[in-house]
């Protein structure tokens, strides 16, 4: 599945877009990402699936479109 990242997360992941496949749910996705990008574990961000912001753990499939958004404060 495609993961689009915003804000300072791009620097942590080294790219605006990464691909992760065969993770069952959000929990597994985060575990996989935190292993690969340890900095992410302490970063604040929200996950959206198929352009809907989610707060609970939900099932994912390889067609899911994931977005990761950190808070922005600048004005």
């Amino acid at each position: 599945m495609d993961i689009i990242v915003f804000g300072q997360l791009k620097e942590m992941l080294g790219s605006e877009r990464i691909t992760v496949n065969d993770v069952e749910d959000i929990y597994e996705l985060q575990k996989a990402l935190h292993t690969k990008y340890p900095l992410l574990e302490h970063a604040k961000y929200k996950i959206a699936v198929d352009r809907k912001m989610i707060s609970d753990n939900i099932k994912l499939n390889n067609d899911s479109e994931i977005a990761m958004l950190p808070p922005f404060s600048g004005g």
Binding site: M53, S55, S73, G75
Partner: protein
């Protein structure tokens, strides 16, 4: 000013059939408060004043600096050192002398926010720090005012409309549904640290003005409960649907009195690592019995905890139940660790350094798992 002149001033937008005279009337009768006359606030103010928003409030306690001018193009080099609220008011009156401008050359605080905000119908957040953003969000929820949110980070910006109910039964979304509590100090860089292109704040601030005008005049599809992200390098936009969460209503002060006694800057300055403990450390506190353990969930929430002695004080009632907390060390817990973190921050802001306050990370669910392992 004669009616004929007034018509002429707004003629180019009145002839748009979607907007028309009725849209103009709605704008002229509206009262919009712009908090922060900076990179986002300046363009928003200019377009709202030009379009004929009848009453515009400006809150900012800052002065114009040389390094503001690349993005705050309402000001001129001669304004350096002058208060932004006053200079913005001066220029906006020149742009449109027929509208009312109220300037507040003060720093918005939990003590004065309600009084300032209650005189307006719509609030625009153009501030540059999380403490004020969370404070504005909570005040808008308590006062039932729509909030037009905008923020930038390097080459990206975001815009959303929070707390807007078209019908009374509608579920509105607020900033805490997106990010329940403020990041700790230094966790997210601001423009001062990470930089920003002047044009980006111009684009995002202008989008905020556009959303405000759409909302007031009832045209188009405003970004109600939608967060739009714009990237100025790729020109791509990404829109996300937002939904209300159960959690956020527990995180907002219960009433205006509780709001006014909240210390938002203090709440934003505490880091998670100083305060959050894991299930193993929590187990140790249960074993040692030297701390007050407090369940901050609502009284009927499951799972019920009967494995150890604890107090039950829902997050929203913490402030009035302080007398039941006796011990020097306080450990709060909830379902997932989010509400208890807020509770810990609230208690820490009350006790300052006189007591130790901890929150169980990932909540009672994590402790149950730990027990079973």
């Amino acid at each position: 000013m004669k009616e004929q002149n007034l018509y002429e001033r707004y003629q180019r937008q009145i002839i748009l059939k979607e907007f028309g005279e009725s849209g103009q009337q709605k704008l002229l009768q509206s009262k919009v408060l712009v908090i922060g006359a900076g990179g986002l606030g300046c363009p928003a103010l200019q377009y709202l004043a030009g379009a004929g928003v009848g009453t515009i409030g400006i809150v900012d306690d800052d002065i114009v600096s040389l390094n503001n001018l690349h993005r705050q193009i309402l000001f001129s080099t001669n304004d350096i050192g002058q208060p932004k609220a006053e200079r913005a008011s001066f220029y906006l009156k020149q742009l449109n002398p027929t509208i009312r401008i109220e300037s507040f050359n003060i720093r918005l605080s939990a003590k004065n926010a309600i009084n300032i905000m209650k005189g307006f119908d719509y609030v625009i957040d153009g501030t540059d720090n999380f403490a004020t953003r969370y404070m504005i969000n909570d005040a808008c929820v308590l006062l039932d005012k729509p909030l037009i949110h905008g923020a930038v980070s390097q080459f990206e910006g975001q815009v959303a409309i929070f707390n807007y109910k078209k019908n009374t039964e509608d579920n509105s979304v607020n900033y805490r549904d997106l990010f329940p509590y403020a990041p700790k100090a230094g966790e997210v860089l601001n423009c001062e640290e990470s930089g920003v292109m002047g044009v980006l704040t111009g684009i995002i601030g202008t989008m905020m003005a556009n959303e405000t005008i759409k909302l007031i005049s009832g045209i188009g599809k405003p970004l109600i409960n939608v967060l739009m992200i714009y990237n100025s390098l790729s020109n791509q936009t990404y829109s996300l649907a937002l939904t209300a969460t159960e959690e956020s209503r527990f995180l907002i002060p219960a009433d205006i009195e509780a709001f006014e006694s909240s210390d938002y800057e203090w709440l934003c300055g505490i880091s998670d690592s100083e305060m959050e403990i894991d299930a193993e450390a929590f187990e140790q506190f249960i074993h040692d019995g030297n701390a007050d353990l407090i369940d901050v969930r609502e009284k009927d929430e499951q799972p019920f905890i009967n494995e150890f002695f604890h107090l039950q004080i829902p997050l929203g009632q913490l402030a009035e139940n302080l007398s039941s907390i006796q011990k020097e060390t306080v450990v709060v817990f909830c379902q997932s660790g989010s509400r208890s973190f807020q509770a810990a921050k609230t208690l820490a802001s009350i006790y300052k350094n006189s007591r130790k306050v901890y929150s169980l990370k990932d909540g009672i669910i994590e402790w149950k798992k730990f027990q079973q392992a």
